[in-house]
């Protein structure tokens, strides 16, 4: 077996070896049981005390959502002004300028919502102050927001009937002190010892071997890169993200980074099952998510290692696969693996340029973000999957003629309505955004913006359409990767994706938590022979079918116009 294939198999095996025990730990930790990290309690007590928080105060689902929205609002307002005035703030050794209002609007939303779309480039568009006190800060807290929201949902199904769903600030703070921060320190140290920079010295200059003068951007990237992956954020310190040799110096760091971005999403599935004392359900959900991932991963690896047919025609040898936009130290196989992982979960960090991937690879990346629930982002992955569970419960209930129930609570019209709206919101914002963009390109090519619509697209034809579709999909899925050829730093894209981002974040968090809160307050019906069990493989497959049908019906036409058309025009 070749070493590249062996590399990704080892990577996935390590992921499970860390992710599954981590999930069991999370279940115990969030339930308040004894865990080995309890020595951090004094730190948490200090944080609560300084913030005026009473950790024993319990909240219902509405209070949870109020607290969540309020703190997110604080970050939005603060971050927006920090970015605009970053040139006047300290810690700016490279003398970078403030962001324009529309760019700052986009950047701050995209970091608050855990997306990290990045219409700026880290080397020139941010200062050390904003990289730390805005971007890295938000990478921690946006991930913790998602995890805390998911724990609220877990809590709703742990007891039979309850409105007491714990304290939001406690879930939020513990996500940071007991999970994100300790893991970030470990990952950052591994990265630092492999060559990722940590020092605060600014740009360097040297004379190359050939005699050219070269400038090198540097900076304390290691800590940033660690949390960007663990928190499924994905925003890079440098413009090209995980492809940059200082962010991702070698094959080992590549493994560490791609493992660290998916362990928490996998852990959350197991945390759910163990928290509500239904381990079998965790394994079924995990099995279906893994099936979904494999169905995207295998063809992606085949398509990339097969190489580009057009370059094959030139007679050049593509021993290991397609190489445009890829780095030699990772090779096409590990790059394909990364591209699948980063799109099924909502990280969106890249170690290659997705724009240059094969058309079918691009399609699988798009599908991964369109479904957005195979493992999914920190906390939000399991929330998205929960929506499909509710729809599956409803549909199968209708099919077998039983009252739809989930874990002993009747699922009624109100819950199904919320679930349907959330499930349909995703295709709606993606397709409307793409349609608006396509309309603007065609009808207003000369609009006087920073980048004219006529020069938005870096590639002609079907691929150009894919670039616009990808940008909207990535924004709606809060993913943050891009077909980076798109000229996206202008008022149109900054504002459009700003709205797509915010719609794609908060409603899909509030919806599932609301459903869970409503269900938890209903009378508990003990399971009987007439109950449709939701922890069986049959039900798992049913959920999978629902996910596929919703995505297929909604997105197939758009995919036909972009990557599919490009693929068939290429192999004809």
């Amino acid at each position: 077996m070749n070493t590249e294939l062996l590399g990704i198999i080892a990577t996935y095996a390590l992921t499970l070896l860390i992710g599954i025990p981590l999930g069991i730990y999370l279940a115990k930790m969030f339930a308040g049981e004894k865990v080995w990290t309890d020595f951090l309690k004094p730190l948490e007590k200090g944080i609560y005390k300084l913030s005026g928080i009473n950790p024993d105060e319990s909240m219902n689902w509405k209070q949870h959502m109020k607290a969540l929205l309020m703190i997110n609002m604080v970050w939005l307002v603060y971050g927006f002004f920090a970015l605009i005035y970053q040139d006047k703030l300290p810690l700016n050794p490279d003398g970078n300028l403030g962001q324009s209002p529309d760019l700052a609007f986009n950047s701050i939303i995209s970091f608050v919502v855990n997306c990290n779309l990045q219409h700026y480039s880290g080397e020139s568009g941010a200062t050390y102050f904003t990289q730390h006190f805005v971007f890295m800060f938000l990478q921690f807290v946006s991930a913790a927001t998602g995890i805390a929201a998911a724990v609220v949902l877990f809590k709703a199904f742990r007891d039979k009937t309850t409105t007491n769903l714990g304290n939001f600030w406690v879930f939020f703070t513990r996500s940071i002190t007991r999970l994100l921060l300790p893991l970030s320190v470990v990952v950052a140290i591994i990265l630092a010892f492999n060559g990722t920079t940590t020092s605060y010295e600014g740009k360097d200059q040297f004379i190359s071997l050939q005699g050219d003068t070269v400038h090198v951007s540097r900076g304390p990237a290691a800590g940033f890169v660690a949390i960007k992956h663990l928190g499924t954020n994905g925003g890079g310190w440098f413009g090209v993200n995980g492809a940059h040799p200082l962010e991702n110096p070698n094959y080992l760091t590549n493994m560490v980074e791609v493992i660290s971005q998916v362990i928490i999403p996998i852990a959350m599935v197991f945390a759910f099952g163990y928290f509500i004392r239904r381990k079998k359900m965790a394994w079924v959900i995990f099995g279906i998510m893994t099936l979904g991932m494999m169905l995207l991963l295998v063809p992606t690896v085949i398509s990339e290692t097969g190489g580009s047919p057009n370059i094959a025609k030139m007679g050049v040898s593509q021993l290991t696969g397609a190489m445009e936009g890829k780095e030699v130290r990772f090779g096409p196989t590990a790059t394909a693996y990364w591209s699948t992982v980063t799109t099924i979960i909502s990280t969106g960090s890249v170690n290659s340029m997705h724009d240059s991937a094969m058309p079918l690879t691009g399609m699988f990346q798009l599908i991964a973000m369109m479904m957005n629930c195979f493992y999914g982002g920190c906390g939000v992955g399991i929330l998205n999957y929960f929506i499909f569970i509710i729809i599956a419960v409803f549909i199968s209930g209708l099919m077998v003629g039983r009252t739809p129930e989930f874990l002993g609570h009747k699922v009624e019209a109100r819950e199904v309505k919320i679930a349907s709206i959330i499930a349909l919101l995703h295709p709606f914002i993606i397709l409307v955004g793409t349609a608006l963009a396509a309309y603007t390109v065609t009808n207003f090519p000369d609009a006087d913006w920073l980048v004219k619509p006529a020069s938005w697209l870096n590639n002609p034809g079907f691929h150009g359409f894919s670039e616009m579709l990808y940008e909207n999909t990535s924004a709606a899925a809060n993913n943050g990767s891009g077909f980076e050829g798109l000229g996206d730093n202008n008022v149109f894209w900054n504002v459009l994706t700003g709205f797509v981002l915010i719609l794609g974040r908060f409603l899909p968090i509030i919806g599932p938590v609301a459903i869970a809160g409503l269900l938890a307050s209903k009378k508990y019906i003990p399971e009987s022979a007439g109950t449709l069990r939701t922890d069986t493989l049959t039900f798992g497959v049913m959920t999978f079918v629902v996910i596929v049908i919703i995505a297929a019906l909604a997105f197939f036409p758009a995919l036909t116009l972009g990557p599919l058309a490009e693929h068939f025009s290429m192999i004809k």
């Binding site: 604080v74 890295m136 040297f206 090209v240 492809a243 580009s308 190489m323 780095e327 724009d355 050829g485």
Partner: protein, 188 residues
């Protein structure tokens, strides 16, 4: 509601101290004990810094091994890939021109000897590596310009080839800058 605003503001402030000051400074301190002391590992020739081990640089002179094409001309102040799609005609023309250029400088080569990484731009534009095949195809040219035997240069390439991680995982590769520095030092 007002209670949540005040709690939000205070919690934000407290967490900033922990996450934006204590955490990065801890990492920066630990970074001082790494090979490049946290500022990037440098490569020196005769005591003079000639670049960073991880940052590729532009080599155009025939007596040096060449790296991959770069969309940003190896300008490490920024970074970037070409972002060209697989069916872009203009891009395909560019790749085919690169093939022709390589053939012109290496008359002994057939097209099938050229690996894809030598004619395609990397993701970062700063890729420090080329594939083993990419180095091997250049041996004869470099040896001729330096008036060295093919064997001497080939041995140097073998010495500078890094195998898979633990001999098991991932591709093997050649660091172009390290190889070229080794070549220059050979002459003395």
């Amino acid at each position: 509601m007002k209670k949540y605003i005040i709690q939000s503001l205070r919690l934000t402030g407290v967490l900033m101290v922990l996450l934006c000051i204590i955490y990065p400074l801890t990492i920066a301190y630990i970074g001082k004990f790494t090979p490049g002391e946290g500022a990037g590992e440098k490569i020196t020739k005769n005591g003079k810094v000639v670049g960073y081990a991880l940052i590729g640089q532009s080599f155009t002179k025939p007596e040096y091994f060449w790296g991959r094409p770069s969309a940003v001309g190896y300008n490490a102040a920024g970074s970037g890939g070409s972002n060209k799609g697989a069916t872009n005609e203009e891009y395909l023309k560019q790749v085919s021109d690169r093939v022709d250029t390589l053939l012109k400088y290496h008359l002994y080569l057939k097209k099938a000897d050229i690996p894809a990484d030598m004619v395609t731009a990397s993701g970062s534009g700063l890729d420090p590596n080329i594939s083993e095949t990419g180095a091997i195809m250049q041996i004869k040219r470099v040896a001729a310009y330096r008036k060295l035997s093919d064997r001497t240069v080939a041995e140097l390439v073998v010495k500078n080839t890094e195998g898979p991680l633990f001999g098991l995982f991932g591709p093997s590769k050649v660091n172009v800058l390290k190889l070229n520095v080794a070549l220059d030092e050979l002459k003395k």
